[in-house]
């Protein structure tokens, strides 16, 4: 690695952390209902909206009501996106005259955007009208991210409140997430992106006459507005098929930096929100530290693996075997690595390079990031939920060792909380393995492969790790636009999403009901280095036990065979 590569690796986490901390504090104020610097502008609008919604700002909800509202709201969204795609041919803002989307693709896309996954089995510029992109997909980008935030805020309230039957008001939390957090950030981001060359227009394609005299059709559209929320909301669904590798989504090094920064920002800020709401900032910092250590460790392995180059290519006369397949010159190797590590550690799934063409061990890191449940920063909201579930598991194990009822942040953890947190941790993992198993044993599953040998297995595992973790990036050699994959990945996305959200709300309700246990000499401190290391250990052990066999057969085997010069 050159010295400028090292500077990139240092610059990114440093800048994001510096911005995430104040954002985290700001969000705590927003959801506590305190005044912020944006209140004078937004509060009046907020009050008007509550009147339009028929919502009483002061009303408090039990966890069951909160979950019910969330589910109804989410399902309406999925249905609307589905219908929009089916009837887009008859609707306005469709300059390319695109027709109705196939039912299985439309269902997959509706579920995908409704669950904050943004897995895309279609090619954006050839499938979706401008209206569908805006009113369907962009809207769900906001809503699914906002829903993620509401759930983590409810869970934090579970820890903060004592002997309370309620965890907040879903409608209020939802509205505040959008008005105070998402909209201001995306307004800034989208204009910065346009200033660099990301397109933003309602016109259809432009036709150019190239220097050599052929015709080139250049697809454009309202890209910047979707691009901004795609990153800020860790959604990841690109306007174009090539996603953030497309020069109109990501034209310069500055946009590259802004997009990685944007997709890390809110997930990185939420641990600080936790600290601020608990009035125990060291607790937020400890959780953040565990995430950061895992992020940097994965980044190290990944960068090393990708920097090695491809020995097969070196042998046939490519300088250093530099693995530029599926990468853009303006990004180069190291920024492609930083983007890929960040997009799989958070559940964003936007890509500025093609992950399928990454070196085998690089692919392994990406799959690990997703398979452990998207907890290294993770999705907006859902990442911290997963991490807190691991924290509960850690305290449970610590409790077993010292023979005391486990506690976390002043709340006793009992059977109900443990069952729920294990559901959060294990359901995506079980589903991933089960569906991969079905795919590798059926003709429908194998027919879609773009690569053979162990890399083919990696394509299948990646698809289900990505969808069950609600990430959305892909080893895109796999043709996922088939009835088999559209239906199985839809299932994975739905289970992955709701097996996190519903149990998290259940835990929130149960914890809010409990008293706060004052810290005593026998309390295991959850802010120190020992806790951080134990938490990381638990994540690594759970991940290794669950996925070691399948990772051995996929990326690890490919790596070993490649080193001996074998091709497939």
């Amino acid at each position: 690695m050159t010295s400028s590569d090292w500077l990139c690796v240092i610059l990114l986490p440093f800048t994001t952390t510096a911005l995430a901390f104040p954002l985290g504090e700001f969000m705590a104020k927003v959801f506590n209902g305190s005044k912020t610097f944006l209140s004078p502008v937004i509060a009046p609008l907020e009050r008007v909206l509550y009147r339009l919604f028929g919502v009483d700002e002061k009303e408090e909800m039990s966890w069951q009501t909160y979950a019910l509202c969330l589910i109804i709201f989410n399902i309406i969204g999925i249905i609307i996106v589905f219908i929009l795609q089916i009837i887009q041919g008859k609707l306005p803002l469709n300059p390319q005259k695109l027709g109705s989307v196939w039912w299985d693709t439309a269902l997959n896309t509706a579920v995908s955007f409704g669950t904050n996954t943004n897995w895309q089995s279609y090619s954006g510029e050839q499938t979706m009208s401008h209206l569908t992109q805006m009113l369907g997909l962009t809207v769900q980008n906001f809503f699914s991210a906002a829903i993620g935030i509401t759930v983590i805020i409810a869970l934090i309230r579970g820890f903060v409140r004592k002997s309370s039957g309620s965890i907040g008001n879903f409608w209020v939390d939802l509205t505040r997430s959008i008005l105070y957090v998402l909209i201001p950030l995306v307004m800034i981001w989208s204009l910065l992106l346009v200033s660099q060359g990301v397109v933003q227009t309602f016109s259809g394609s432009v036709t150019a006459q190239t220097l050599e005299g052929s015709r080139q059709t250049i697809a454009v559209g309202p890209v910047a507005s979707q691009e901004a929320i795609k990153e800020i909301g860790t959604n990841g669904g690109g306007f174009f098929n090539a996603n953030s590798a497309h020069p109109f989504e990501n034209p310069t090094p500055l946009t590259d930096f802004l997009e990685i920064l944007g997709l890390l920002l809110v997930p990185m800020a939420l641990p600080f929100t936790l600290g601020a709401m608990l009035k125990n900032r060291r607790q937020g910092a400890a959780i953040f530290a565990a995430m950061l250590i895992l992020y940097l460790a994965g980044l190290g392995v990944f960068a090393w693996s990708e920097m090695q180059g491809n020995p097969l290519l070196q042998k046939v006369g490519v300088i250093n075997g530099l693995n530029m397949e599926g990468k853009e010159v303006r990004s180069g190797i190291i920024n492609s690595v930083l983007f890929a590590q960040s997009t799989t550690a958070t559940s964003c799934g936007a890509v500025n390079s093609m992950h399928d063409s990454m070196m085998p061990l690089s692919g392994l890191v990406l799959m690990f990031n997703m398979a452990i449940g998207e907890v290294i920063f993770g999705g907006v909201g859902t990442g911290l939920i997963g991490m807190l579930s691991y924290a509960m598991l850690t305290m449970f194990l610590a409790g077993l060792m010292i023979g005391r009822t486990p506690e976390l942040m002043g709340k006793k953890l009992e059977l109900f909380e443990m069952v729920m947190s294990v559901i959060i941790i294990l359901s995506p993992a079980i589903l991933l393995l089960l569906l991969s198993g079905i795919a590798v044993t059926t003709r429908a599953g194998l027919a879609s492969l773009g690569n053979s040998g162990p890399h083919g297995l990696s394509e299948i595992i990646y698809a289900f790790a990505s969808t069950s973790g609600n990430n959305g990036s892909a080893f895109a050699g796999l043709n996922a636009n088939t009835v088999f994959y559209n239906l199985t990945t839809s299932g994975a996305m739905l289970v992955g999403r709701f097996s996190t959200i519903i149990p998290a709300l259940a835990i929130a309700g149960s914890l809010a009901n409990k008293k706060i246990v004052p810290a005593s000499i026998a309390t295991f401190p959850t802010t120190g280095l020992l806790f951080i290391l134990m938490l990381i250990g638990v994540i690594l052990v759970v991940g290794a036990l669950t996925f070691f066999p399948v990772f051995t057969l996929g990326p690890l085997l490919e790596h070993l065979l490649m080193m001996t010069g074998k091709m497939f």
């Binding site: 034209p251 090094p253 075997g321 530099l322 853009e328 010159v329 074998k566």
Partner: protein
Amino acid sequence: MLQLKRSLLTFFWLSLICGLIYPLAVTVTAQAVFPEKANGSIIKKGDQIMGSHLIGQLFTRPEYFHGRPQAPSPQYDAANSGGSNLGPSNAKLVAQAVARVQQVRLENGLPLNASVPADLVLTSASGLDPHISPMSAELQVRRIAGERNISENELKKIIQQNTEQPLLGIWGKERVNVLMLNLALDSIARNRR
């Protein structure tokens, strides 16, 4: 039932904000402040649209600098973006690299055992990458000097003028925009006439 009604109302009003007002506000602002960028950084000669600053074009003639090979077919179709998605151990990837390395050597009169820069023989992620590395551009200088009767030094100067630098010197890579290079070549040819 109460929550269902609230759901529908909330959905309607928030959709309006996020799905219409927000993209409209961004479009209006973008078109007012950065009209050239917001419409795709289009390059025109008179009324004729030549292409976009940001989108690569296919160059096959010997008198032009060549860009990267691309995976989608036809190449450089800016309504169909994407990469090859060939895995690193895929025999097809290696076979393609062998053929392209050989082609680059033959076209540019390099020794038959010369190694070539990766970006010139491996496909990009977008299928539209407008850039190549300065090294890949310099490798083509001799061929173009012969074809166009321009001195190699002058060509190297053009490459230097069209080399874009990383952000703050660290973020991103040094790169040359192939379309801009070739436009510069054509304008020299016109001035001479």
